[in-house]
């Protein structure tokens, strides 16, 4: 390895380790890391900061910002609160149904909207219901854990659900419809397996008393709390139509027409915001997730710097030189992607590994490699509570809710409580991802 390769890779890995170890200083660490990476490539003559910025996939950032704004319009229409309240009613306060319904809702919502925002609005309703039911630690852990995993899987099931899939769409690695056709079935299968294992084998509700009075009171209270909370149809209708049109355009508009995915998102969300101009102006001024955009921008700069040193080419070549068939190389790559994501989270892993994936995709069916990678990243995101942004947020909301069990003991949802859910989910999603990729390879 050359000196510049060692230094820039060291900056990238060091930055990722530091931001994972000190999440409260995450933004400072990654922005400084990006600056250091740019300095190194400049000094080594591999490219200036301007060159690195030119390598940034701005289309991905545009799609993320646009979809984030669309989610905020749905928030203003009270969509997520209404959905959560409906799920609470439909569950009839049966703990198994609560787990199932909320997981399914989060899976679907995460495929279409920013899962962090959706979770922020759905989780308080669920926590209220869990408080009314006085659930125990085991049930709380598995319900919230499976909910987070369902969010991750929903994000991986759709090309607009989460950053890794958006990156594949934005870079043109896969078309919208090809991604849906190839990623939705395995993601749904993985969710089905996880729910089956949880409800039939783990049975987190088995120690809860079947208390008809408690259930009846819980349903009545949930009804009373949401007695007149209604969807604002005026605010909901136009953005919903805009989203539907965007989905159609992503499927039918050929890339060569110039109607690229980011332009469709840009225009579609713009049209949705124009329908409620005052709200739209306020959202654009105050609700674009600058922190997420800056974090990803810094990652892209660092990855661009590493790319310019040729490290990714060397890793891809090293993988190709492994004395095993290409499908085994693919399995090694997917396992590595899952574990790296567990340690460093989805954004950094996906940004760094996509270059290697592109090399593999020249020797294997591209959809097998990319969907396998997206699912492996999803598996890694589900391994630890800290691997996905939604995890620490769920932890904070749960702490704030001050839940107690039937004996009055406080309930927790933290890193260690999540581990059994994470290990099971990682195993299932990673296995489904690898199996799906191998099946896709065998079918060509």
């Amino acid at each position: 390895m050359r000196a510049e390769q060692l230094i820039v890779s060291g900056v990238l890995v060091g930055t990722l380790v530091l931001q994972a170890a000190r999440p409260q200083r995450r933004m400072l660490i990654v922005t400084l890391g990006a600056g250091l990476a740019a300095l190194t490539t400049s000094v080594a003559g591999l490219g200036t900061a301007a060159d690195l910025l030119a390598d940034v996939p701005w289309d991905v950032l545009v799609i993320l910002a646009a979809l984030g704004l669309l989610t905020q319009v749905f928030v203003a229409s009270r969509l997520f609160g209404v959905l959560a309240a409906a799920a609470a009613r439909r569950s009839q306060a049966d703990p198994r149904r609560v787990l199932l319904l909320f997981a399914l809702i989060m899976f679907v919502v995460s495929g279409l909207a920013n899962n962090l925002t959706a979770l922020l609005l759905v989780l308080p309703v669920l926590l209220t219901l869990l408080k009314l039911l006085s659930v125990d630690q085991r049930y709380l852990t598995w319900t919230l854990g499976v909910l987070l995993v369902a969010c991750n899987l929903g994000g991986a099931a759709s090309p607009i659900g989460d950053f890794p899939a958006i990156l594949l769409l934005g870079r043109g690695s896969m078309t919208f419809d090809a991604y849906v056709l190839n990623a939705l079935p395995p993601a749904t299968a993985a969710l089905g397996l996880i729910l089956a294992v949880t409800l039939l084998v783990v049975r987190p509700a088995r120690a809860l008393d079947d208390d008809p009075v408690g259930r009846r009171v819980s349903v009545a209270v949930m009804d009373a709390l949401h007695r007149a909370v209604r969807l604002d149809r005026g605010l909901f209708a136009w953005p919903a139509i805009a989203l539907a049109v965007m989905l159609v355009a992503w499927v039918v508009a050929p890339r060569e027409s110039g109607l690229t995915p980011e332009l469709i998102a840009w225009l579609g969300v713009g049209a949705a915001l124009v329908a409620a101009p005052a709200l739209g102006e306020r959202l654009i001024r105050s609700r674009i997730d600058v922190e997420a955009a800056l974090f990803l921008l810094s990652l892209f700069v660092m990855v661009a710097a590493v790319r310019r040193t040729g490290v990714f080419d060397d890793v891809a070549a090293g993988l190709a030189r492994l004395p095993v068939p290409p499908v085994v190389q693919l399995v090694v790559f997917l396992l590595m992607a899952g574990l790296l994501t567990g340690l460093f989270s989805a954004g950094p892993s996906m940004a760094a590994l996509l270059d290697v994936a592109e090399s593999l995709a020249t020797r294997l069916p591209p959809h097998a490699v990319y969907v396998g990678l997206a699912l492996s990243v999803c598996a890694g995101s589900s391994l630890f509570l800290t691997a996905a942004t939604a995890g620490p947020m769920a932890q904070a909301l749960t702490e704030r809710a001050g839940l107690r069990d039937g004996q009055g003991a406080p309930l927790r949802f933290g890193f260690f409580e999540f581990i059994p859910v994470g290990l099971m989910s990682f195993g299932v999603i990673q296995a489904v991802g690898i199996a799906w990729a191998l099946a896709a390879v065998s079918m060509g």
Partner: protein
């Protein structure tokens, strides 16, 4: 009623009382427990949680005496609010506010002081009135003052010159407040004396109010 069930109902009542008000929550609990476990269940509920929640104790007692629904008669409050440009509500009783809000003139601004002794998701509380009721904090309540402004709070029994009200009332009421609002209304939502210590509530002189409604 088992200790486990009581502990669960205790936690559930705190959630309900925080976002619905003690009186509304108490009627809901008594009705649902009675539907599942009959009057015996209501008695057990009163024995188990009555000391902790005096409004629940009183409502359970009234249920056992034959009452089957809360007394929600907003007419007196509406009459006192005629011509008001602003009505600011201190304290929360969802059933009573649900009845009052549609009866106030559309041109009247309605505010709710977002202050309670139990946790509440105030966004959800306000969403039930579809934007008709605005939230305000204690510090901002004076922005609602004026010659055409009315202050309303809920009382839990008014007798012997004393009214039991929610603690938030004490934070907004003072010698100078009487002059800043056209009327100060106590809406008696319980209409019965409490037999246990009025925890969660404070006692104030009934003469602090220009109107006592609900009787």
């Amino acid at each position: 009623m088992t200790a486990g069930r009581l502990a669960r109902l205790d936690q559930a009542f705190r959630v309900a009382a925080g976002e619905l008000g003690h009186c509304t929550a108490a009627w809901l609990f008594v009705r649902e427990v009675a539907a599942e476990a009959g009057d015996e269940g209501v008695e057990a509920l009163r024995d188990g949680l009555g000391r902790a929640y005096p409004v629940l104790d009183t409502v359970a007692r009234r249920w056992l005496e034959g009452a089957r629904a809360p007394h929600v008669r907003p007419e007196g409050v509406v009459a006192a609010c005629v011509g008001a440009a602003r009505v600011l509500v201190v304290g929360l009783e969802a059933a009573h506010l649900d009845a009052l809000v549609p009866l106030l003139a559309p041109s009247t601004r309605i505010g709710l002081v977002l202050q309670g002794t139990l946790d509440a998701d105030w966004e959800r509380v306000l969403a039930n009135w579809g934007g008709r009721v605005e939230g305000t904090d204690v510090a901002g309540f004076q922005r609602w003052a004026g010659a055409r402004s009315v202050l309303v709070t809920f009382a839990y029994g008014v007798a012997g010159g004393v009214a039991h009200v929610q603690p938030a009332w004490v934070r907004v009421s003072g010698p100078d407040v009487r002059a800043q609002f056209r009327a100060l209304i106590a809406w008696d939502v319980l209409r019965a004396p409490m037999f246990v210590y009025p925890r969660w509530l404070v006692s104030v002189p009934a003469e602090d109010f220009s109107h006592v409604a609900g009787h």
